[in-house]
Symmetry: C3
């Protein structure tokens, strides 16, 4: 059987109506080649500090991508067979065999964003021109494997080729940030910054919290077992993260709950937390209080807050036991914002020098809660369609359900939120195409003028993210810049 | 820089597909010029009784419109700078300066219904033909200010020019209705009616409830501190509102909870309420019981009930302290109808002589709860897309999510629900365009015949509202008509 | 007045854009004439065993169809007037008069799926060519009544004419399955199978639970008052249902709650249940535990599980008292899946030999909960848009909100779920048209290749349902096949 050709249609994702499509195409031409700013993601900074070749197609493209292996798992393919490592660290599956298994199931992705991202990578990054299938699995493996061995496919070369202006990674407060320091010292001019993600020492229910707290004290030389010292330890590390370029923090809590306890109540709560065995209610209250504490620190140091609530982590008990966290078994839950965020908003919501970017996995909150909140509180902005909703339909629903109440200017551009480095251009391209399509419909329906749409397309692709994440401001810490210029 | 032209495209809001657009245009031509019936709104009746000129552009268009100033506030513009008065009553901002600040931020409204409403007012009411911007702020101010000083822009002249057949305002049970009486006696033939909105004496958590209750007794000469007298006081005032033209009541509760207590339990609850310091649970139960009481009275006097639940009022604590109610800080919440309304529906839901119009700010209830309820209970009808959802996308979602289960005939046409008088024609025009666009799609997809769509367009724009609000029936009270003819 | 013509446009339900429509038409041609597989419905098996003529138009088309009479009821038409029987069993309304009342209100169905289904039946089944209206009511009645008296309109003839490959009915565990046995013995080659729906003996709050439990024991000769015997009785009947062709069970619980109690706790709970007067919490826990027990049995016998949660049954108290169950007064409620299904999923979710098909009446769960769950757990599949959402807009939302996360292959094709036998071809046709329209949009937007879409269209109309319901496997019980061939 002849292989089926693979091409990327230049009009993909644009509306089918010829008139609207022409407008979308026009708007897209204005933003297609803008640099990529990726202010929130999960790539590995060691890639850019060490700049070593990626090992093989399966380990690069398949094993780290839970969007991919969760779908195969849902149809009965064991994770082992895809090269996903268990808690014991090992996998005995040959990468080529894992790739073949993946290729044999690629029809499962029809109509999903993963299919679009993959095809973009296959065509644009690797120059493949036939579709992936069981028949072409080895051809794919060979072409990709060969490419990865060349200099042009090392991390920094791809970073440059992708037109990335800035890439943020996400690190734990326990991370020494060595890779970021190494990048800064390396002379390479790629801008890779970190983000302060304190969940391991903020969430009492996080795996290994007690040990993390101890390490937090060791690293900062603060007495993290008293409330004041614990907060100071955060201040220390936030400063160090800023020195490594961070402009933002990130908080992945089960809910959007916030609290604003008195000093005495907060101290008493913290005492119960460090004693160990805190109740679920205390754990929730502590996470809630810590969001308000983080906002207070942000008012001082200027770091932008990101709140990513509403994921029920590790829903699959047996899979979690065998494979650990982040294996495609996190499930969104209904998420309240109106009552949950009131304590924090009552305290700091009117501060226009504070930026809190809120995300959701519960789309029913877009029009009902999030757009009204962001359309009122100076401190609030809406993060883009996230995770399961980082998709053409998800982005469209985001714009349709938030724009009329919050406008475009209370949103913050696109986040790719990915650990799949090669898919970053594909993901930004999808976002630009979907936003241009939405704008084109408004223009075609005479709800927006063409020049307004062109300005908005630019802002949504480039301008808003830069402002919202304060990437256009001189670094607060200063040290990062001096490291860069050293 | 040359000013950019401002026009209203005759095809605005119609679908882009040429075939569907042609059908929508055709349907719209049949309803474009129908008289406006505005059965639920918040304009000030003194405008029509006194018929004095509006003072200036900012005080007319900006300061009362929370859709506008909430968006600027969300981007850091203080309310003072926009001429919004605080609780102390004053603002020291010059109206022209407030207008300039607004004009400099008008890009924030791109893609919002406010932008469409404003442009409609600018072009149709004031004949402006350049876009509003920082550069044209003074031009706008001067043109509008000059117009407002002329006879053609007095309230009654605009009312007539707008083709308003009927306009309902909303008054507290404590309102003497003097302005409505004055209008009736004036000889002007504009029909401005009132609506009975008893929240201040029904909601124990309303600001100033105790004082309002006392005034309620004084006004009605009923013993409002006993349950029977309190209910009689409502009956007295409902009758007086009917005499001033009212055909409806309106209830803005935090939730849709209803109750059906025994007489003894209701009396005991009321005793706890009037004693003061009622618990939150008692306050909620009392509001719930009062909806059932109001339904019972409606069965007697024929007033249509409107229930507007699900807004978390005055969410912003500091803003509420400084500026008071209704300052753009009301946030929708998740709202249950199925369990909440069961007590009332068990009591009166099968009464086809009763009309209860239910609204929602929680769109997730449209297809799941509200359409099934309204598609079954004879007493229930669905109010139109409301408040944050009074917008092209919001109206489209309303039709897409309610029609298949409730049909069109369990809905009640359009409400503008506005205090922005000049925007009333714009809002009704948007509604007619969006409904015609929805119908056009059904016709284009052969889900509806063109003649059926034409009939429906007329019903949605004019027929249903008249029937649902009983505006085509002889007034129950009689007195209002006799005042009119006196 | 001349009657208005009635035709079915061959392009109905396809998108209006000519390019997308052409693709949709093309895809639809490939699936239009595929056999109908109806794996979940509520037709009466006695129709096919006895093969007697249907009695009259109103009794066949109107009285059993709660989609129809609920809409008229919502507008004040009494159920009696439509020939719907009360609990006392009788209706005194002449069928022709009921039909006239229905015809006079047919405008209420504009824009609803009922209108599409009815017109399909009128044109395709009865050859009518004018629209139904008050004027044509008698013409309709006469044409349909005459047809029903002919051999071509007997149940088996229609079954064959409709191209039904398989039709599943739903029976209580107390049903002797006589009609299914009679069909099997009859020599007619129509495949009508049963489905095991144990709610009457699983739900302690079901009307007549105690009597049903007793009958369950009598029928199975098991001691159903002890936990082990009760479970064995289910095993007995499941086996007998399989012998009568069943490949699935069905569970219509108020919520999606599941439980995984220890043996001792389950026994103690069951003891409280059989004692009578169980608390609401115990009843809920028992239903929850029984879903897990049913899953355990499905692992043994291979029956596919269907869970239909989230309907508040018999919401209208007075109507339920007078008319009984299933009279159009069931209202969907908000439904949680993430926490509710965790006990069952923790126990059996990773079993790829188990198939649990989950439905919802709460569309907000599609993208947030159901697609992520089905896109991960091997045992889970998503049932199609259900009941109020079995409609063009409902199906479109289902695809738009589930495909990007769960893909197409974690869904199971279409269910008509109907007792309206004549509408089965209409319903499947709507589903095929809407799915082809969705696929056509993906093709037009270059998100899917045309050949992929053609394969998917076939799978969604025919392939997936056959696999998911194990209709392509040799029957487990064996007895049914031997009866057939006997």
């Amino acid at each position: 059987m002849a292989h089926q050709p693979l091409t990327l249609n230049p009009d993909r994702l644009f509306p089918a109506d010829p008139g609207v499509r022409a407008i979308a195409r026009d708007l897209y031409q204005g933003v297609r080649a803008l640099p990529i700013i990726s202010p929130h993601g999960h790539t590995d900074p060691s890639w850019f500090s060490l700049n070593e070749p990626f090992s093989d197609p399966a380990s690069l493209l398949l094993a780290p991508d839970h969007y991919l292996y969760r779908m195969l798992y849902s149809q009965g393919v064991p994770l082992d067979a895809l090269g996903v490592s268990g808690r014991d660290g090992g996998t005995h599956t040959d990468p080529r065999q894992a790739w073949r298994t993946f290729a044999a199931h690629v029809h499962l992705f029809r109509g999903t964003p993963s299919a679009m991202w993959l095809n973009h990578v296959f065509v644009e990054v690797f120059g493949l021109d036939v579709r992936l299938s069981a028949q072409t699995a080895d051809l794919y493996y060979d072409v990709i494997d060969a490419a990865l061995k060349t200099a042009a496919f090392r991390p920094r070369a791809l970073f440059d080729r992708f037109g990335i202006e800035l890439l943020a990674t996400t690190e734990s407060p326990l991370d020494p940030l060595d890779h970021h320091h190494a990048i800064a010292r390396s002379g390479w001019d790629g801008r890779v910054i970190t983000t302060y993600r304190p969940d391991p020492v903020v969430d009492p229910e996080f795996d290994g919290f007690a040990g993390a707290l101890e390490a937090f004290g060791d690293l900062t030389n603060e007495d993290v077992y008293c409330w004041r010292g614990y907060l100071d330890a955060h201040r220390v590390r936030r400063g160090e993260f800023q020195a490594a370029g961070a402009t933002a923090t990130d908080h992945g809590h089960p809910t959007a709950a916030t609290a604003d306890l008195s000093r005495a109540d907060a101290e008493a709560l913290f005492a119960r937390i460090v004693r160990g065995g805190a109740s679920a209610a205390d754990a929730e209250l502590f996470r809630a209080q810590m969001l308000t504490e983080m906002a207070r620190m942000s008012l001082d140091d200027g770091l932008v807050m990101q709140i990513h609530p509403g994921s029920f982590r590790n829903h699959n008990r047996a899979l979690h036991a065998a494979y650990g966290r982040d294996k495609g078994a996190d499930i969104p839950t209904r998420t309240d914002y109106v009552r949950a965020m009131k304590p924090l908003l009552d305290r700091f919501g009117n501060e226009s020098s504070l930026t809190i970017i809120v995300f959701t996995l519960d789309e029913s909150a877009y029009a009902r809660e999030l757009a009204p909140l962001a359309g009122h509180y100076p401190a609030l902005r809406l993060g883009p369609a996230w995770w399961f909703h980082d998709s053409p339909e998800g982005m469209r629903r985001f714009r349709e359900q938030t724009t009329e109440t919050a406008g475009f200017y209370n949103t913050v551009g696109f986040n790719d939120d990915t650990r799949a480095f090669l898919s970053i251009p594909a993901r930004h391209d999808v976002s630009r195409r979907v936003d241009c399509s939405f704008l084109a419909r408004l223009v075609a329906e005479h709800r927006l003028e063409l020049d307004e749409a062109a300005g908005l397309a630019h802002d949504l692709a480039y301008g808003l993210v830069k402002t919202a994440y304060r990437l256009d401001e001189p670094a607060q810490g200063g040290a990062w810049n001096s490291l860069k210029s050293a």
